[in-house]
Amino acid sequence: MTQAHSAPSDQPGRPALSLHIPEPKFRPGQKPDFGGLRISKPGEIPRPPIDVAPHDIRDLADGVIRVLDDEGRAVGPWDPGLSATDLRRALRFMMTTRSYDDRMLRAQRQGKTSFYIKCTGEEAIGVGQSLALAAGDMMFPTYRQPGLLIARDWSLYDMACQVFANAGDRMKGRQLPVLYSVPQEGFFTISGNLATQFIQAVGWAMASAYKGDHRIAAGWIGDGATAEGDFHYALTFAAVYRAPVILNVVNNQWAISTFQGFAGGENATFAARAIGYGLPGLRVDGNDILAVVAVTRWAAERARANLGATVIELVTYRAAAHSTSDDPTRYRPADEWEHWPLGDPIVRTKQHLIARGDWTEARQVQLAAEVEDEVQGAVKKAETLGVLGKGAQHRPETMFEDVYKEMPPHLKRQREEFEGGR
């Protein structure tokens, strides 16, 4: 028993060591007040040229790039100059995303699926970044970016079929709801294992560079999942091989019940992680669609110009529960989102369009109704086809397919056994 020889030491005059345990600012019952949060002013942060040396823009990791001011005006060098048409499309996609989320949550409550994950409050990220990327670029998302697909006008019906795991589910009922896969839109099959996609995105980008292609890759990861090894692999490989990839950290403040301080967010920003690898790290208001588009474009330009990878931290707030299995009132004030200083991305986009004179409250009401109809139509159609365990389903024996490209003998025998036993 040699290990036990090491008895705690007593050093008179020295303070005893103690363990620091991070604590979120507010717990249930407390009144949230984000007054202490350091947020840059809109327009304040400079926009460097894309060929800037990463070392020279270390400070960008500490600020928050914002374009929309409190009056809904676009200010400063990061204004991407989106046309009214583009902005109205973005607004529509964000609203579609939220409406779809709401409807699917109801469907889950009605037992039509066992599980659902919303992205409420984070719609500007999926939608804005999708619009900033080009067709052919490859996206390695998490479950929290359905906006990437919706902004490509991907079929809501197809998505709903996946959630209902019905006969229209291209994934044949194999995956948890919302773990979509859409190769047609460059949307990689979402993994239930967090973080793995981050280094895969880098590998894809390396392959594109290897082939002299022009397409770039983008990966997403949550604040919580940055603590996994794959995050470190991604930044290391991206830096070493100057891979044309955008590495997005979606800091929505929470990882289920765990606030971002447990991922290291108390001591430095997630954008600052980039610094240690010699990568540029930008931090952006994730609820500001203009800033999101602008920053993503900057990183995409850089990647396409063979200047390598960029880390983007998107600062946002997870407004809804983690998933339908979660009850956030157990660990945070129920109204915390209402106090979130960066607001609601949909409201802010609307406000901006109105401020520009490109939109009215009346048109907003009209659009909301349109979106509602579209979502309802698509989801209804999917429901009519089938929902979990009811209606048109894939045949269960399909579960033996696609383990390998061709079914090996032992799986054929198992399929026979299964069919014989039913």
């Binding site: 795991a165 194999r174 948890l176 239930g192 967090l194 919580g224 090894g229 019940s257 447990f262």
Partner: protein
């Protein structure tokens, strides 16, 4: 004695050990303030403080690596991996480090680590919340692997595990947390209320590691099972009318081969059941041992009923899950050597 669910019994085990031993601390994702996604640590942070029931970064490799360092210091960390499917990022720290410290230092260093993690299907968790990776751990010498099937055993085995000076992989059948699920998914969910093994002493007691238990005595065929499958096998015996002797292994490593061999020698027949994929599952080792120890007593081939060799398909939970019907058919087949 208090009536407890399996989750409550685990909670009670940790409560008892936190109270008894300053060196015990808990670590894991969402286990502290929140009480764990399966509520197994509910109330413990409130009782013992955030420094003894630690929320952690989302980093299974980091959690296990840090816990090993704590174990080397002299603590007895109890780690929760949120789902067994997420033990893989920690595989190197478990297999190369926790399992090897004592050996490579010839007994000079060790880490008395307990890794709790929910495993198995039955909750529509899809392929990344339903896996049963026990055989990946049972192949790693230096680790012990424990799987309870009821509240009484769960508490006693967890206390033994926390007190053990070896690293323990403690797999919790998540479908049993709330009730003794027997595979009849179309019937109302059973609760632990009134189940004989849900009466749990409030204080400290041990169920020894390495000892199996006969869950249902019988004479016709021996069924080897653990975790959820103990209940499913008993249902299969009842449904099929085959007088099976169901053995609840409780500890996979070290295995109680004596109890297993005695039963098979008595019945002359054996069916092995687990949820993990068939090929190279723990059932393979059981079959190899049974034929070695009981060769001259066996009257029919040893049957294995297991998860198919595919990932766990979300929508086909009950086509995948080795339910009472499949097990019953295997029992019937085991009774008839000509059926093979």
């Amino acid at each position: 004695m208090t009536a407890m669910t399996l989750a409550q019994a685990l909670n009670s085990a940790m409560d008892v050990m936190l109270a008894r031993d300053d060196n015990v601390l808990l670590m894991g994702e969402d286990i502290g303030y929140f009480g764990g996604v399966f509520r197994c640590t509910e109330g413990l942070q409130k009782k013992y403080g955030p420094g003894r029931v630690l929320d952690t970064p989302l980093s299974e490799g980091g959690i296990v690596g840090a816990a090993i360092g704590m174990g080397v210091y002299g603590l007895r960390p109890v780690v929760e991996i949120q789902f067994a499917d997420y033990s893989y990022p920690a595989f190197d720290q478990l297999a190369s480090e926790a399992a090897r410290l004592r050996y490579r230092s010839a007994g000079e260093f060790w880490a008395p680590l307990t890794v709790r993690t929910p495993y198995g299907g039955g909750i529509f968790g899809g392929q990344t919340h339903s896996q049963s990776p026990e055989a990946l751990f049972t192949h790693v010498c230096g680790l012990k692997t424990v799987i309870p099937s009821n509240p009484y055993d769960a508490k006693g085995l967890l206390i033994s595990s926390i007190e053990a000076d070896d690293p323990i992989i403690f797999l919790e059948p998540k479908r049993l947390y709330a009730g003794p699920f027997d595979g009849h998914h179309d019937r109302p969910a059973a609760s632990w209320d009134g189940h004989p093994h849900s009466e749990v002493p409030d204080g400290h007691y041990r169920v020894p590691l390495g000892k199996a238990k006969i869950a249902r005595p019988g004479n016709a065929v021996t069924v080897l099972a653990f975790g959820t499958m103990v209940h499913v096998a008993m249902a299969a015996a009842a449904d099929s009318g085959v007088d099976a002797e169901v053995i609840d292994l409780r500890t996979l490593i070290p295995l109680d081969i004596d109890t297993v061999a005695a039963s098979v020698k008595k019945t002359g027949r054996c069916v092995i059941v687990h949820e993990a994929t068939l090929t190279c599952g723990y059932g393979a080792e059981l079959a190899a041992l049974v034929q070695q120890h009981c060769f001259f007593h066996l009257e029919a081939p040893i049957g294995r009923v297991a998860g198919w060799d595919t990932p766990y398909p979300y929508a086909f939970e009950w086509d995948y899950f080795p339910g009472p019907k499949r097990i019953g058919a295997a029992l019937v087949k085991a009774m008839d050597a000509k059926a093979w």
